[in-house]
Symmetry: C4
Subunit: 194 residues, 4 copies
Amino acid sequence: MMFGNAEPETGRVEAFSDGVLAVIITIMALELRAPVGGSFTDLRGRLPALLVYILSFVFIGIYWNNHHHLFRAARRVTGGVMWANLHLLFWLSLIPVLTGWIGEHYRESAPAATYGVVCLGAGFAFTILTRAIIRADGSDSLVAMAIGRDYKGRVSVLAYAAAIGLAFVSPWIAYALFAGVAVMWLVPDRRLSR
Amino acid sequence: MMFGNAEPETGRVEAFSDGVLAVIITIMALELRAPVGGSFTDLRGRLPALLVYILSFVFIGIYWNNHHHLFRAARRVTGGVMWANLHLLFWLSLIPVLTGWIGEHYRESAPAATYGVVCLGAGFAFTILTRAIIRADGSDSLVAMAIGRDYKGRVSVLAYAAAIGLAFVSPWIAYALFAGVAVMWLVPDRRLSR
Amino acid sequence: MMFGNAEPETGRVEAFSDGVLAVIITIMALELRAPVGGSFTDLRGRLPALLVYILSFVFIGIYWNNHHHLFRAARRVTGGVMWANLHLLFWLSLIPVLTGWIGEHYRESAPAATYGVVCLGAGFAFTILTRAIIRADGSDSLVAMAIGRDYKGRVSVLAYAAAIGLAFVSPWIAYALFAGVAVMWLVPDRRLSR
Amino acid sequence: MMFGNAEPETGRVEAFSDGVLAVIITIMALELRAPVGGSFTDLRGRLPALLVYILSFVFIGIYWNNHHHLFRAARRVTGGVMWANLHLLFWLSLIPVLTGWIGEHYRESAPAATYGVVCLGAGFAFTILTRAIIRADGSDSLVAMAIGRDYKGRVSVLAYAAAIGLAFVSPWIAYALFAGVAVMWLVPDRRLSR
């Protein structure tokens, strides 16, 4: 059952990750659930759930983008990289359930804080994955050079940590921080491009 | 976490989109839900849900076909193209929930009108995606040349807009318009082929 | 939105079909649902559902195998082939819901007969797909030569048609016919191989 | 419907397996279900379900890794290999439902023992798959050479068999054995690497 720690090509790791992320992003929409009645009033009751869905959709989209760029720069995929990648996918796989939980209880602190914990976990998992790839590729790797400018990643992690604490003051502060991080990643960063 | 705005090859964007569309088209069938009883009478009660499912299946199929052709003509995939693509997938990801909603409340106006809104959103998202690809490839691109003849796209958007308003007269008019658009895309267009 | 009827490479059609079939085969397991209680008695109540799941798993497996062989022989993929392929996937996408329905009502005729209708629909859809590929590739194609020996396909379709009628005598006859067809495909056909 | 037993390239078998495993690993998170209330007390009630989810996530991850290594070493994919692969995916597809079952009834023996049966089934299915690949590739194949050192696979199967019996003493012994096997696979095996 064990065929050595040789490096597989990045192709299948990317394909598997794409599959997992595609299912995550799609399955979340199912958590929206159709309104019970057939009127616009019933639909309005699903609006908070829709807004959390949009937030989570963008969140997964950001990770898909970053994952994409990361593996384009990666050269070798060791066993360590494969498990670091699965570790990231683990945290992201919790997003749909939490999205559903916030959708039902958006006025309470616990769902918002827990969402922050999972975002923080995903953030650290991405950092661990990046380091695993650098360790596999060597310190002169494309990934190592690119990682020097990771201020967006650091700001995100700080914002998520703050959101966990501030969710107990008001979940809305946490939502504002999550949305802020999303906007930061969506706005293209002209200095860095090309 | 950020590795520049360099263009990835179209392969992984297509693979990810295929994954999302495959999940959407399959997950919709789950929204059909098995009849509660074991008789044909129970099955007959699921018939409207089945018809809406067929409509949505064809709708997603049309987008998969168009997406396929669009990316075959595309040369460069920038960050803008990736987000425009995710934006399209966002609208399409709402189709399964709405299909389930119409299946339960097909006699009412709100579900039919909301379905029209999502169809319209997907239509605009496809146009934005097309423009993002043309911007990335340049005005002499294959996509730019093909887009000059996009009368089917325009008729679709007009029909969806009409369906939103006319759903309040009767949802059946809206369904007729949705079905008409689907048939228009299914019938091969001899003048354009080759 | 329309970029001509040019033939895409078979790769993306296969990838999309693989995605849909992978989701179908996996999502069916969810329809099994966990037993309500925590004892083996509760588990025993799920046994008929498990047996229908195995049947449907093999059914989808057979189609995946045949689809695989068909597209390996295919050369050109026209718009007609793409829609014929989606038509096949449509019928197969109904299998999970029907599997769940039979699992709950395996003693009644309607679910068994409806399952037969969907099997028959999938069988005809496969034939249509084969013809669409032959029309695209020409009568001297690999597919055209291979299709001359399609006796297993014909026996399957006859068995499904018989199962629809005989389900009204007893659903168990229908199940025996479905299982017989599955076994026929599972047993390797020595005369044809190589 | 039958196009001979010629060997397809391993690519599509891997892609299909990746799709199935990606859906399995993601769909399990849905079985977690959001807590009913909006407080941390409600979340705490989901903790056992979360722990079983982590166990199953690692379990599927291990199989994905081993599957990956196995097919990298494989040269030919016959009809026998394809069905042996589907047989493995069948056992793995039962993991999400069982994960949900244990999550609800983690203090009882039946779910833990049944989980052990499925783990054992997957273990044997992997062995059968390995043998099918060796039969297809020949006894001088890369897979045949690598399989000589399969002590981890044997220890796993013994541990699963023991877990089935000991679950009736206490389900916690079974969980400890499952977790032990997972840790054994996660810890990199220095003697074997490279």
